[in-house]
């Protein structure tokens, strides 16, 4: 039975007065994640928007013990924390329920500079949850391209629009055959909550990627953040699924109908139209070709997913 949003616990791990932008998807997602994890958790952060907004020492916007670590090291730093807890439990110095260790990492620290350590932690099956909040660019440093930036998107290092496609990180993680992984959306907080609760109950390596539209980065109105995230799911840009040990086990939200019954994706044009990063192409004669290309890409990704589900 899926949880409803009004059933989520009232506890907040993100305190008011933090430095995040209005409608920051990372902060909103972290609230749902915190409700699922509960208070007994340890947080690790690599440089990202969250670090820039979590507060200036000695103040901090989160209720968790939080460790700032080097950019490339989410996978290894979290592994170190986990091994230390395990060693202390083994030697009887740590009793009671083990804290949940989790990383809170942007797409840069996941897709790019942090990929090696992430892959190694997944391969070792270290017992923590790796969260990636994916805002499809290095938003913190002023919106430069990342491996998660889609083709044609304008960033400060792709001023003419990105010429390469983003990599399919969820499928890369799927092939690490980890005990649990999920994709999620900031627009579906109850779905995210359920996935985190599930991850928390599984021993070994867990990967959860949360799609996170960034209004200063993508150039849309801040009030439309959740709307953009919802459109991304309805249009098939962001597919919501879960997998265990390399097998896709569950589709959720509109993704289910899109993939299983071939329902028509909705709102793709509206999704792209709302974003300034695509304006250069959406206002040109290439608009139709671009729209067709994006839609073909969405269908191809859904076919890939369907194919994987048959395995």
């Amino acid at each position: 039975m899926a949880t409803r949003i009004k059933d989520l616990p009232a506890e907040e791990v993100v305190l008011s007065g933090n430095g995040a932008c209005a409608s920051c998807p990372s902060t909103l997602a972290l609230r749902s994640v915190g409700k699922a994890l509960g208070p007994n958790a340890i947080m690790l952060l690599t440089p990202s928007c969250t670090v820039a907004s979590m507060g200036v020492t000695p103040q901090m916007a989160f209720t968790y013990p939080a460790m700032n670590i080097c950019f490339a090291t989410a996978g290894s730093s979290a592994a170190g924390v986990v091994y230390a807890l395990e060693a202390q439990a083994m030697k009887g110095r740590l009793q009671g329920e083990m804290p949940t260790v989790f990383t809170w990492i942007g797409d840069g620290g996941t897709y790019d500079i942090g990929f090696q350590a992430l892959s190694a932690a997944a391969e070792r099956n270290d017992n923590f949850i790796f969260f990636c909040y994916n805002n499809e660019a290095y938003s913190n440093t002023g919106v430069q391209r990342s491996g998660a930036t889609p083709a044609y998107a304008v960033t400060t290092t792709t001023p003419g629009g990105k010429t390469e496609n983003k990599k399919n990180m969820p499928l890369l993680m799927l092939d690490h055959r980890i005990p649990y992984m999920a994709t999620a959306s900031v627009a579906y907080p109850a779905d995210l909550y359920d996935k985190v609760v599930k991850a928390k109950g599984i021993k070994g390596f867990k990967y959860i990627e949360i799609f996170a539209p960034c209004y200063p980065g993508w150039k849309f109105e801040s009030k439309d953040m959740v709307k953009l995230a919802r459109l991304a799911v309805r249009s098939g840009i962001n597919l919501l699924w879960e997998a265990e040990n390399g097998y896709i086990t569950h589709l959720s939200g509109p993704t289910k109908a899109l993939v299983e019954t071939g329902a028509a994706p909705r709102g793709l044009e509206e999704y792209l139209e709302a974003q300034g990063r695509f304006r250069h192409v959406m206002t040109s004669e290439k608009k139709e070709a671009f729209l067709q290309g994006v839609e073909a890409g969405v269908r191809e990704e859904m076919e890939l997913l369907k194919g994987r589900m048959r395995i």
Partner: protein, 401 residues
């Protein structure tokens, strides 16, 4: 193990009871692993690299065989190795890693984090020349390039001292709240077997109390580590790190005295002095060459040159005051060192020695860079170079003997 046991030595322990030490025939890498076992380390995260690999292999085997109650974390690279150590320390564990050369260079960013973050741990670095071109043998460029990362640095001269320095390192790191790097020469010490006295576990336990972190990542008492800091606090953090380095000096001496009281073994002052009392020529060096050069000092003395040897054992904090005390006005120092300070037309050690003595003592300082990439330094060659230096001659070129 049995075949490698040279002897068992029974003696009276601190509390008057009888304790049994073991004397084993071990390589430097194995001695490092034995020290990790003696220190009851909780977490080891490491990545293999020549000539350090057998440290990692031996620790893995100890863990596998239940000989060491520890979690061994086989990471995918050295940057991750030290990052994992940082995480493990923050979670309250006693932590060790080992590396060499490129591995240490690859850790550089995280060395700053562990040093600047005041995270107590011990690392063994097996000194090896740096790329390019590839070279496997010893020089000190790798660890001296990490000079300003906030780590305490020890350079040892024997296999026994590797064991002793690592154990003392765990004491020092806890007291100083600074990480300790124990450096030993690749192959010369890492791969040569030598007698190692391993004190009985109860002796080590008495010397080294269980690790009690000053703080840790604890959901019951949440705190943050190293998030963004206002400028006025950042400067204070760095100044505290500088001060902590200076304050660590007496801790080295305290650790050595304490270690001697418990184990009966002495290794530990910041300088290791040989025939310096009446010396006029001081041969200053680090690592295994500094042990070898003692024979060179004897040779120079036999030819009427009043030489003495100074081994810089603790390199960070730099023992400036101790050197000022040892070197008299009007004396001559010949620095023999296995590294370059590129652009300074010198080695790093000579630059530091000049800086330490400036305005304090009037000493004529000669610098001779040698032993780069593992050139074998015999006492004959080093004595020859010292003689060349004090007689104003060009250094005799090194040749394999």
């Amino acid at each position: 193990m049995e075949a490698e046991r040279l002897m068992k030595a029974e003696r009276q322990g601190q509390d008057g009871g009888e304790v049994t030490d073991e004397r084993l025939l071990k390589t430097g890498c194995h001695a490092a692993a034995l020290a990790v076992r003696s220190a009851r380390v909780d977490v080891v995260a490491a990545y293999p690299i020549t000539p350090q690999s057998s440290v990692v292999e031996t620790i893995s085997a100890m863990v596998e065989e239940g000989d060491l109650e520890c979690r061994f974390l086989p990471v995918e690279g050295e940057h991750s190795a030290l990052a994992a150590c940082a995480g493990a320390i923050a979670a309250g564990a006693r932590v060790f890693t080992a590396t060499a050369s490129q591995g240490l260079l690859y850790m550089h960013e995280v060395l700053h984090m562990v040093g600047g973050g005041r995270l107590p741990m011990v690392m063994a670095n097996v000194n090896r020349a740096v790329f390019p071109p590839w070279a496997l043998l010893v020089d000190h460029q790798d660890s001296l390039s990490q000079r300003d990362t906030g780590w305490l640095q020890i350079y040892v001269a024997s296999v026994q001292e590797i064991y002793n320095a690592i154990l003392q390192g765990f004491y020092i790191t806890q007291e100083a709240q600074l990480p300790v790097m124990v450096n030993f020469d690749g192959f010369i010490l890492s791969h040569c077997a030598s007698g190692v006295m391993v004190p009985a576990q109860e002796v080590v336990d008495a010397f080294l109390p269980p690790y009690e972190p000053l703080w840790k990542l604890d959901p019951a008492a949440p705190s943050s580590f190293a998030n963004v800091t206002a400028t006025e606090y950042y400067g204070k953090h760095r100044a505290m790190l500088q001060r902590a380095q200076q304050e660590a000096k007496p801790i080295f001496k305290e650790a050595a005295a304490r270690y001697r009281d418990h184990t009966g073994m002495w290794d530990g002052d910041v300088l290791d002095l040989y025939r310096t009392e009446d010396a006029e020529v001081f041969v200053i060096s680090m690592g295994s060459m500094a042990a070898e050069v003692k024979l060179g000092v004897d040779d120079l003395r036999s030819r009427g040159i009043k030489a003495g040897a100074v081994r810089i054992r603790v390199y960070r904090p730099f023992p400036a005051e101790d050197l000022v005390q040892v070197l008299p006005d009007g004396s001559t120092a010949v620095v023999l060192e296995r590294n370059y300070s590129f652009g300074m037309n010198s080695g790093i050690l000579a630059v530091e020695l000049k800086s330490a003595l400036y305005g304090q003592k009037n000493v004529c300082i000669h610098d001779r860079v040698m032993g780069i990439g593992g050139e074998d330094l015999t006492w004959r060659y080093m004595a020859r170079v010292v003689e060349d230096a004090i007689t104003g001659k060009e250094a005799t070129p090194w040749q394999p003997e």
